[in-house]
């Protein structure tokens, strides 16, 4: 058994608890939760493939019967729909962005829905016509919410409103005026459209014109918004947006041109439509790339956390944040309550930039108190998720550092106060010792002298003389006891002659042979007192419990450390948790920032070692 009870100074600064979640367990838990998700995705994917197969067959069947060119529109829509469903399901299953994944799958099915208009079955054709434009709101939402997964800004909401109106217009509103032969169902009788209304040509023509204008506004507004966003985006932000926004720019441009040909014939409808369909077909791939890039970008928040965990210094903080934001000009200021300002790593106060100054600020607060501020490219404000993530990590880092500093300060104060308490107690012992010597003892010595004089006067009276003699003997015993008491309270030799002499004094009075090895050097008073009391307490324990035949006191001073070692050849098995003596030693050692170790194997003697720093 090896006892190491009283590590005197708790190294609070050095040990920071780390989360201890076993990675294997996390993976297992995820795998279990994913099982139904995989199944659902597979089933939905199979449905989409079957549906696409059917739609493609319909497109090609039309071709075979009529001998007309390939129904590229139908096939392109089928491809886009299927690809959207597949990419969406993968995004959902892989948890790249679950909501966006599901919306993509929905959007894909809405694309597939348009293939119903190829069907020659009236009910299917009619439903296809009614839901003809339902895909647009979902598609717009996906584009406008990319890559955050939510709409940001009034413009986006406005475009959403427009596209919803557009979808209702071209869907349920326009369906009654549509001839099946014009939309996908070449050679179908008018009766295939169950909702068909005839005889309102003027109304239909006016409605059509309005709807075409509406379509122009819908495509146009998307084009403008997307171009604007690309323009203001930071470089890394643009890299994320491009895979989705570039196909959308091409597609909406082509769609605007295509719609315009419905009003004025000025370019070939088919040419524009071809470009539009290619752009559309590329869109699902664009989403896949864009979402992966967005995730990689968000992953930088994690990298930031790792970087700060390794090196939490202020300058590193700024570098790591600039890297995470992809903005080399980013600056970090830590709030200084004394200066009432945000200070950079080189103690420069950061000005909070005014609006439209070309700089943006994100402030980081904690419980209503300012913590820090990030100055960065205003374009990053649109990537709120990234900035929020970075801010959250920075907050953790700074708050953590504040806490660590506070703990360190408290620890230092606690050490100082502990040292003061011990010093005060030593001073008090010394005071008591002096009072005993210079007060009581001095008076008793004088008294004994006077009694001796009295005794000499009483030589003629043996009776009285004997009584005085008895009193003198009693007084001699009292003086001896008082002397021992005073030396026990505080050995004057420690102050006057140092530790080695004081330890000799202990050894001379010990009831067993004690060998003292100590350099005849002087050390700071708190160290000498600590060393002395450790040896005194240890020797007391040896005498009381150890059944030892010998003991050793060794003092070494090496490498700015004063080591006090008290060993005996007794029975060992000392338990420092019982009895206040050893505990008191631990406190005393801790007060001078030292370390106490007790080794006491049963039958193997006891060794108490104290290491005291003495720089």
């Amino acid at each position: 058994m090896r006892l190491r009870p009283a590590r005197s100074s708790p190294d609070l600064g050095a040990t920071i608890a780390r989360p201890s979640l076993a990675p294997e367990r996390l993976f297992r838990a995820r795998a279990q939760a994913d099982l139904p998700r995989d199944g659902v995705a597979l089933a939905v994917g199979l449905v989409a493939i079957a549906w696409s197969g059917w739609a493609a067959y319909n497109s090609l069947a039309t071709l075979r019967e009529r001998g007309v060119p390939v129904d590229w529109v139908g096939l392109a829509f089928t491809w886009t729909g299927l690809a959207m469903v597949v990419v969406g399901l993968v995004v959902w299953v892989r948890r790249i962005d679950e909501r966006t994944g599901l919306l993509m799958a929905l959007c894909g099915f809405l694309f597939l829905l348009t293939s119903l208009t190829v069907a020659r079955v009236p009910v299917l054709w009619t439903s296809g016509a009614v839901f003809n434009s339902a895909r647009f709101p979902v598609l717009y939402y996906l584009v406008l919410a990319f890559p955050l997964g939510r709409l940001v800004g009034r413009a986006a909401w406005l475009v959403m409103a427009v596209v919803v109106v557009d979808a209702v217009g071209w869907g349920p509103l326009w369906a009654p005026f549509t001839l099946p032969a014009d939309v996908g169902c070449t050679g179908c009788p008018p009766g295939t459209n169950l909702l068909l209304v005839s005889g309102h040509d003027h109304f239909a023509s006016t409605t059509f014109t309005v709807l075409v204008w509406l379509a122009l506004v819908t495509y146009g507004s998307l084009l403008v918004l997307v171009l604007w966003r690309l323009g203001i985006a930071s470089r890394p932000g643009r890299r994320t947006l491009a895979p989705v926004y570039l196909p959308i720019v091409v597609w909406s441009t082509a769609s605007v041109l295509e719609a315009s040909t419905l009003l004025v014939y000025w370019i070939t409808f088919e040419t524009v439509q071809f470009v539009e369909l290619v752009a559309l077909a590329l869109l699902p791939i664009g989403f896949a790339i864009g979402l992966l890039r967005a995730r990689a970008r968000r992953g930088r928040v994690g990298e930031l956390a790792l970087a700060l965990d390794r090196a939490p210094q202020p300058r590193k903080l700024e570098e790591a944040i600039a890297r995470a934001l992809g903005d080399p000009s980013a600056e970090v200021g830590i709030w200084s309550p004394q200066d009432r300002a945000y200070l950079t790593a080189d103690q420069r106060a950061l000005e909070v930039p005014a609006d439209n100054s070309g700089r943006a600020a994100t402030s980081i607060d904690h419980e209503g108190q300012p913590i820090a501020i990030l100055l960065h490219d205003p374009a990053l404000l649109h990537d709120t998720r990234l900035v929020e993530g970075v801010a959250a990590v920075a907050r953790l880092a700074v708050v953590n550092e504040h806490l660590a500093a506070a703990v360190q300060q408290q620890l230092a104060e606690m050490r100082a106060s502990r040292a003061r308490i011990v010093a005060a107690s030593d001073a008090e012992r010394q005071r008591v010792e002096r009072n005993l010597h210079d007060g009581a003892q001095q008076r008793l010595v004088t008294l004994s002298l006077q009694l001796r004089l009295l005794e000499e006067q009483l030589r003629g009276d043996p009776e009285l003389s004997r009584m005085v003699d008895d009193a003198l003997n009693e007084l001699t015993v009292a003086l001896a006891e008082l002397r021992e008491l005073a030396q026990g309270v505080h050995p004057s030799v420690l102050v006057d002659h140092g530790l080695a002499a004081a330890l000799e004094f202990l050894a001379e009075r010990a009831p067993l042979p004690v060998t003292v090895t100590a350099p005849a050097k002087r050390y700071p008073a708190p160290l000498e007192a600590t060393g002395y009391y450790i040896a005194a307490e240890a020797l007391t324990n040896v005498a009381k419990y150890a059944q030892a035949t010998r003991a050793w006191i060794r003092i070494r001073d090496q490498n700015n450390k004063l080591t006090i070692e008290v060993a005996d050849d007794g029975i060992g098995g000392a338990d420092p948790s019982t009895g206040t003596g050893l505990r008191g030693l631990a406190d005393r050692v801790a007060a001078v920032d030292g370390r106490l170790e007790i080794e006491s194997p049963p039958g193997g003697g006891t060794k108490i070692t104290a290491e005291l720093p003495c720089a």
């Binding site: 210079d438 001796r452 004089l453 050995p491 002659h497 009831p511 042979p513």
Partner: protein
């Protein structure tokens, strides 16, 4: 014999001056070390009796003053009265020059005859170390105990040597002839492996250091 007394208690000084036999003339008394040194310079007494604790710090001013007296007036004897039963002080004092130097527990001044005896020994050039300190050193537990090889008579001789007595003093105390004492001393030095050529005064230190080690 002309004496100077130094103790911060005036009552003790006057009591002691009154109690001593008229052959011991107290020519002056001092309340602190500084005054003591001036008086010694002025009166050149045979002997100074000095309390170890005096103003202003009440630690070992008396000890320091004794060493200064020894340095300035090697012929003046000094008896330090101490509350401390500690070898370190005694050795520190005697190291300044053992001749006519004494370290005695203060309690002992009530035994006036013994005190006068000590003063006479000092005046005769001997060294005095308090018997209680020596007794403790001799009785101290040692492993291995080298003193075990001494006979009980040799132990007694060793103790008296450590107390600072001369061969004549030892012979008187143990009621032996001086020649016998010399034989014992020589045997002790051989057994304990001490340098035999040590003179009377220096041997106190040698023996004390041996007992302490």
């Amino acid at each position: 014999m002309r004496l100077i007394l130094a103790d911060d208690s005036a009552l003790l000084r006057t009591s002691l001056a009154r109690a001593l036999n008229p052959e011991f003339e107290v020519v002056a008394d001092a309340g602190d070390a500084e005054q003591l040194l001036q008086l010694v310079d002025h009166h050149r007494p045979d002997l100074a009796i000095v309390d170890i604790r005096m103003p202003p710090t009440y630690t070992d001013e008396g000890l320091q003053a004794a060493k200064q007296i020894r340095a300035r007036h090697p012929d003046t004897g000094v008896l330090v009265l101490s509350q401390y039963l500690q070898t370190a002080y005694a050795i520190s004092l005697i190291s300044a020059g053992p001749e006519r130097m004494g370290y005695l527990l203060k309690d002992r001044i009530s035994d006036l005859r013994e005190l006068e005896n000590t003063l006479n020994r000092l005046a005769a050039g001997e060294t005095v170390v308090d018997p209680e300190i020596v007794a403790r050193l001799v009785a101290r537990n040692r492993a291995p105990n080298r003193l075990d090889q001494l006979t009980s008579r040799e132990r007694n001789v060793l103790t008296l040597m450590a107390e600072g007595r001369s061969n004549a003093g030892i012979a008187q105390a143990l009621v032996l002839s001086e020649r016998t004492v010399e034989t014992h001393v020589s045997n002790i030095f051989t057994k304990l492996n001490l340098a035999a050529d040590t003179t009377d005064h220096r041997r106190v230190l040698a023996v004390l250091a041996y007992l302490r080690d």
